[in-house]
């Protein structure tokens, strides 16, 4: 080789070697110069720093690098592992590092943690993450100590959520830390974000309406079917309710209802309900609702339900099988309801009334009109959800309502019942008013209303209930004979006859004095449940005409004068005074003071009174008119003793005379009167008349059934009575008991030892006072006797009194003859024939 080439080669080689040396020298030098970061571990919060050659300790500082601190951690194999948990995570932190020998600083910026991670949970959207940045999501339950990776696959966490919503849970999320080294600082775990998984909300409360056969559901509810054990079919899906609605059982649980036209029972149906999750509310827990099988009505029950009519406006519905524990119910569907589209199928609109016993329920025409349909079913019982819950049963419909015709008469006319005021009274059977009506319902009339029509009055109606003192009403089936009188239509309708008898019109006393008080139309109510009266009208029905009563007048002077002028015949003793109260002193037929005219006016035998007849003629039976038969007196009755106008006493004397008189009032009304004169002397002679010092009524009986009672009173008075002394005015019965002879006086004279007993009798015995009924009477006391024997000594007249002195001698004779106790009255015989046989009692005890 040429030397130049060799030289070049050598030089090149040298250069190469030099460069090599330089490089390696530099490399070595830089390798030994400073500390280096080997590992930054965020999970375990440490940093591993390799010291430079010769370093024995690590020194650290912050970004300012002013103050260096030796790390009191022994290096191991030249590496110091220092805890970094004290370094703030809230911001980037510049950590300066150097060796104690190799003091060239190396900085590493520990990044702040990601604070932006946020997690929200919504029941509909699930978990939503924001601010995740880079890094793997990790999760753990709040109290768990281990982090797990959050599944990336969509829906990968769903099963976890499903398990957590039963009770709710709190989860914590973060992004996982990425460890770093000298070239890449990695990243910290993010700030933890906590989220609560809401627990299931409460299961919806579902109520089955056993009456409306429906379930009320709300928007966002879901349901599916299951069996009694809660098992669902494998393909069972949750149906969602789109809006609030009331679902009929027939749509959601048709199998629960009776099948085969309502004759066979349904099946228990179980439905689970829950509420869908919403943004804010967790899906709800599930509740299972049992719809118990609907039970049909038995044939027996159905057949036992009855509907009958109790009046022309009431019906009775009876459900014999209904009890408190097994109640039934009925509802009414009227024609109006049907027009409005409400039928028995419109369950939600119907109103049911409960029947909880076998007692009949009254339906009234006002609420349940003709044409109504009645439906009966077993009522739903118990509470939805409880064991005793039962749906209402299917319904059974009864016949259409058609109320029977009202009680009515057969003809289309107004029937008058005619009577005289005062005559129709309990006990006076012949004067009762009776009317007949026909009906389809087997019930009598319960109430009557008497109504005045078209006449303004303070009294327009009187209501009377049936009773012993008012009226009675009886119902029976029509007889064949009665049926013959009916039209074909009537025969169909009227099965029963109601006979009503009015026994008293007492309430109408004194109303008949004017025309307006006489016409009363009868309204009657059939059956006690009925609310309505059948009304009689001006054309049809029953009415009562009450003729005015006859009265005994108290006459004015003018009237007396008038009647006086009417007398055409006279009784003996004339007519006496016009009196309603008359005293006849017994057998006082002596004429006493006064001249004939006076005598006429104070005849002790006769008095008169006048009767104004209510009507001139007797009334017709069934009209408001009168017959041609004149009103007359039929008899008088005194103390139970009847006297007819033709009767006479044993002496042939008539007891009374009767003169009729007719007038026409200024209004043109014919009036008739009777002037009655009573001969009390004649009555006195009738052995049935008792003389007992007591006023008793003289009852006047008229034809037409009228009686005027208690208007006239007569007293038959004894001529004299026993009194206690000459000052008393009232009778005072006396009693006298004698034992042994009366009035004996014994004198004893002793002349020379001889005792002589002389008995003498003082004849003046007891004094008896008698009071004379009328002091002006010319009357004498003839005899005073005991047991037919005269015992009188002396009689004297002292004004209105007789003083009677008994003769002891005469009495002693009787005493002598009396060997057993004898009691009797002393008889006082007067010259007018009156014998006083009571008043003074004498009791004789025999002498011992």
């Amino acid at each position: 080789m040429e030397s130049r080439k060799i030289f070049k080669l050598f030089f090149n080689l040298l250069a190469i070697a030099g460069i090599f040396v330089l490089l390696t020298a530099f490399g070595k030098a830089s390798a030994a110069e400073k500390v280096s970061v080997e590992e930054i571990n965020y999970e375990q919060s440490y940093i591993k720093v390799r010291l430079g050659t010769g370093d024995s300790a690590l020194q650290i500082s912050d970004s300012k690098q002013k103050k260096w601190d030796t790390v009191s951690v022994e290096p191991e194999d030249g590496v110091v592992t220092m805890d970094i948990s004290w370094i703030t995570v809230a911001k980037d932190y510049v950590l300066a590092l150097r060796g104690d020998v190799n003091t060239t600083a190396v900085t590493v910026t520990l990044p702040m943690q990601n604070k932006s991670l946020k997690v929200t949970y919504s029941p509909t959207k699930g978990l939503t993450f924001t601010g995740q940045g880079t890094g793997t999501l990790q999760w753990k339950k709040k109290d768990s100590i281990k982090w797990k990776d959050y599944p990336t696959a969509s829906g990968g966490f769903d099963q976890n959520i499903v398990g957590m919503i039963t009770k709710g849970a709190t989860l914590v999320f973060r992004t996982a830390p990425i460890n770093g080294n000298g070239n890449n600082v990695g990243q910290r775990a993010s700030k933890e974000a906590t989220v609560t998984i809401k627990a299931k909300s409460a299961a919806p409360a579902i109520t089955v309406d056993g009456s409306k056969l429906s379930i009320s559901l709300k928007k966002d509810m879901q349901y599916r079917y299951c069996d009694a054990d809660g098992n669902t079919a494998s393909n069972a899906v949750w149906e969602t309710i789109e809006k609030d609605e009331v679902k009929a059982l027939s749509s959601i649980a048709a199998q629960a209802l009776c099948q085969n036209g309502g004759t066979t029972a349904g099946t228990d149906i179980y439905i689970q309900f829950r509420k869908k999750a919403t943004e804010k509310t967790q899906i709800s827990a599930v509740t299972t609702v049992k719809i118990p099988a609907q039970q049909p009505l038995t044939e027996t029950a159905k057949n036992s339900i009855s509907l009958s009519y109790t009046s022309s406006s009431t019906a009775a519905l009876t459900v014999p099988v209904a009890t408190d524990k097994v109640p039934y119910e009925y509802c009414v569907v009227t024609d109006d309801d049907i027009e409005q589209g409400i039928t028995i199928d419109s369950l939600k609109d119907l109103k049911w009334e409960t029947v909880s016993s076998s007692k009949a329920v009254t339906l009234d025409k006002s609420k349940v009109p003709d044409g109504s349909l009645i439906y009966v079913r077993k009522k739903a019982i118990g509470k939805s959800g409880e064991d005793d819950f039962a749906l209402s049963s299917p319904t059974v419909g009864l016949n259409k309502i058609k109320y029977p015709k009202e009680l009515s008469t057969l003809d289309d006319e107004l029937t008058w019942l005619s009577t005289i005021d005062g005559v129709c009274r309990p006990g006076n059977a012949s004067e009762y008013l009776t009317f007949t009506t026909y009906t389809a319902i087997e019930k009598p009339i319960s109430e009557i209303k008497f109504v005045k029509k078209n006449v303004p009055s303070s009294v327009s109606e009187k209501t009377v209930s049936s009773g012993a003192s008012t009226f009675k009403s009886e119902v029976r089936e029509v007889t064949d004979a009665e049926r013959q009188k009916m039209t074909a239509e009537q025969q169909k309708e009227f099965k029963y006859v109601v006979t009503t008898t009015i026994m008293s019109l007492e309430d109408f006393d004194d109303l008949t004095s004017s025309e307006t008080g006489r016409e009363w139309y009868i309204y009657y109510k059939q059956g006690s449940e009925s609310k309505n009266f059948v009304e009689s009208t001006l054309e049809k029905g029953i009415a009562v005409y009450i003729h005015p009563k006859s009265v005994i007048k108290t006459l004015t002077d003018d009237e007396i004068t008038y009647y006086e002028s009417k007398k055409t015949s006279r009784l003996s003793g004339d007519h006496g005074d016009y009196l309603k109260v008359f005293t006849r002193i017994y057998k006082s037929n002596k004429i006493y003071t006064g001249n004939e005219s006076d005598w006429k006016n104070s005849d002790p035998n006769v008095f008169s009174f006048v009767i104004d007849f209510g009507t001139k003629y007797l009334p017709e039976d069934n009209s408001t008119e009168l017959t041609d038969n004149l009103r007359e007196i039929t008899k008088l009755v005194y103390d139970g003793v009847p006297f007819t106008p033709s009767d006479t006493n044993s002496a042939g004397e008539k007891y009374f005379s009767c003169i009729y008189d007719e007038t026409v009032t200024t209004m043109g009304v014919h009036k008739r009167s009777a002037i009655i004169s009573i001969n009390t002397a004649a009555m006195e002679k009738n052995g049935q008349i008792k003389c007992d010092d007591t006023y008793k009524p003289l009852d006047v009986y008229l034809n037409g059934g009228e009686t005027i009672k208690g208007e006239v009173n007569i007293k038959f008075e004894r001529s004299a009575v026993v009194v206690s002394d000459n000052t008393s005015t009232t009778a005072s019965p006396q009693s006298w008991t004698v034992t042994g002879k009366q009035g004996e006086e014994t004198t004893t004279t002793t002349v020379d030892g001889v005792t002589t007993t002389v008995t003498t009798v003082n004849d003046e015995g007891r004094t008896i006072w008698l009071k004379i009924a009328n002091p002006e009477m010319d009357i004498t006391l003839d005899e005073v006797s005991f047991n037919g024997l005269d015992i009188l000594k002396e009689i004297s007249r002292d004004g209105a009194y007789f003083k009677v002195i008994i003769s002891n001698n005469r009495l002693n004779k009787i005493i002598d003859q009396t060997h057993t106790k004898t009691a009797n009255y002393i008889y006082f015989t007067f010259d007018n024939g009156f014998v006083l046989t009571d008043g003074y009692k004498l009791v004789i005890n025999p002498s011992t």
Partner: protein, 415 residues
């Protein structure tokens, strides 16, 4: 007779066989046609994951009741199939750890209720920290052989055996000590035991015990007093003896020569640069502090007297002139005068410092009586971080005896 026996045997065997067939094959009791349904059971009660497996055992729906069987709720969660009809992984994070909680389970097919009692977290486990000796005492840990600990700020659990002689425990203490650099809060638990069934429910991890590991106190600040070669030690400090590997208590203001004798120039050998560790000693109440390292450069050679040296000496009549030819601000030279007969202690002598080159110092014979010795040395320089001045200790000394000239001209010489 034999035939009869044979016949009998045949019959007997046939009967046996028939019975056998009936029992094994035909008897419904042995039939596998019906799936087995039995009561619900539980297993794998994991208190970390807070899940439990609920085995269906043939039931299609499983219920649980947490209110004493008043109400039942369906158990829902991830379902896993297995040979027994599968199991559901049930979340148990809602079961309160602060008391024993009874939960009942039943199935829809077999409704026998299973009673499961979740134990409360054991709160008997206690940890006490000896902050002087940096050690731990544990209580309530009879059932455990190891514990787990972590820094409060992270989830990194480390398992450590209770056996204090074990390597694991020692390593744990080292780590704790390392944490004392900045201080740290740590958490202790004893781990859970996973339950296997309703009778063996295992137990939860104990309640956490938090301990604060305090930061090391700051190391003492030590300086070398370059004048008297002492260190400003205090009695509450200690230094580390590398040869005995022991921490030795300090006294006040110890001499460098005592702590690090090899620093001192001796036998014409420059002293060694020594690094000495110091710290505040632990007291009864406080742990020892951080360590600081004091680096002391080895003591250097003395400066020279002489015209070519660092200090020229000239004696004139009664004046002694010292010319510090090579003194400077960075290499100041000190001198002191020791009278004859006096003892010389470099650490106690009064040194005067010259920082200027060629500075001349005149000394009278009064100050420097005859036979006095003038000592020179390089002055020590205190460390100054700010000015980046490193410590240098005073060098060894060189003596010069001053013999004042009598009338005769005698010049001093070096000894």
């Amino acid at each position: 007779m034999r035939d009869r026996m044979k016949q009998f045997l045949r019959v007997f065997i046939t009967v046996l066989a028939a019975a056998f067939i009936w029992q094994i094959v035909l008897d419904p009791g042995y039939s596998t046609a019906k799936a087995s349904e039995s009561a619900v059971t539980v297993s794998d009660i994991d208190y970390d994951e807070l899940t439990m497996k609920v085995h269906k055992n043939g039931n299609t729906i499983v219920y649980f009741s947490s209110d004493g069987r008043k109400t039942w709720t369906e158990v829902e969660g991830e379902t896993v199939s297995d040979a027994n009809g599968g199991y559901i992984i049930m979340d148990i994070s809602w079961v309160s750890p602060s008391s024993n909680v009874t939960v009942y389970f039943k199935g829809n097919k077999v409704a026998t209720a299973l009673e499961v009692v979740f134990p409360k977290a054991n709160s008997a486990f206690k940890v006490t920290f000896d902050k002087v000796n940096i050690d731990f005492e544990f209580d309530g840990n009879d059932d455990y052989t190891s514990f787990m600990w972590r820094k409060e700020s992270d989830y990194n659990w480390m398992t450590v055996p209770f056996d204090t002689s074990s390597a694991g425990y020692k390593n744990f203490l080292k780590k704790i000590n390392d944490l004392r650099y900045k201080g740290c809060k740590v958490v202790f638990i004893c781990d859970q035991v996973i339950g296997t069934d309703a009778e063996h429910m295992g137990h939860r991890a104990t309640k956490e015990v938090k301990i604060s590991i305090p930061k090391l106190a700051n190391a003492p600040s030590l300086k070398v007093n370059v004048k008297n070669l002492t260190i400003n030690t205090k009695a509450n400090m200690e230094y580390y003896n590398e040869s005995t590997k022991q921490w030795v208590a300090c006294t006040k203001n110890m001499e460098v020569a005592e702590i690090a004798p090899s620093v001192i120039y001796s036998s014409s050998k420059i002293g060694d640069t020594v690094k000495i560790k110091f710290r505040f000693a632990a007291t009864e109440k406080k742990a020892c502090s951080k360590t600081t390292v004091l680096t002391i450069p080895g003591q250097g050679k003395a400066p020279d007297f002489g015209d070519a040296g660092h200090v020229k000496v000239s004696l004139n009549e009664d004046k002694l002139m010292l010319t510090f030819t090579k003194a400077s601000a960075t290499t100041p030279i000190e001198y002191c005068v020791v009278k004859a007969g006096e003892s010389f202690d470099p650490s106690k002598a009064k040194w005067s410092r010259v920082k200027k080159a060629n500075k001349q110092v005149k000394l009278t014979s009064k100050k420097v009586p005859d036979k006095s010795t003038v000592y020179i040395r390089f002055a020590g320089v205190s460390a100054n971080e700010k000015k980046n001045i490193e410590l240098s200790i005073p060098s060894y000394y060189a003596p010069y005896i001053i013999n004042w000239p009598k009338t005769t001209s005698e010049s001093g010489g070096k000894t």
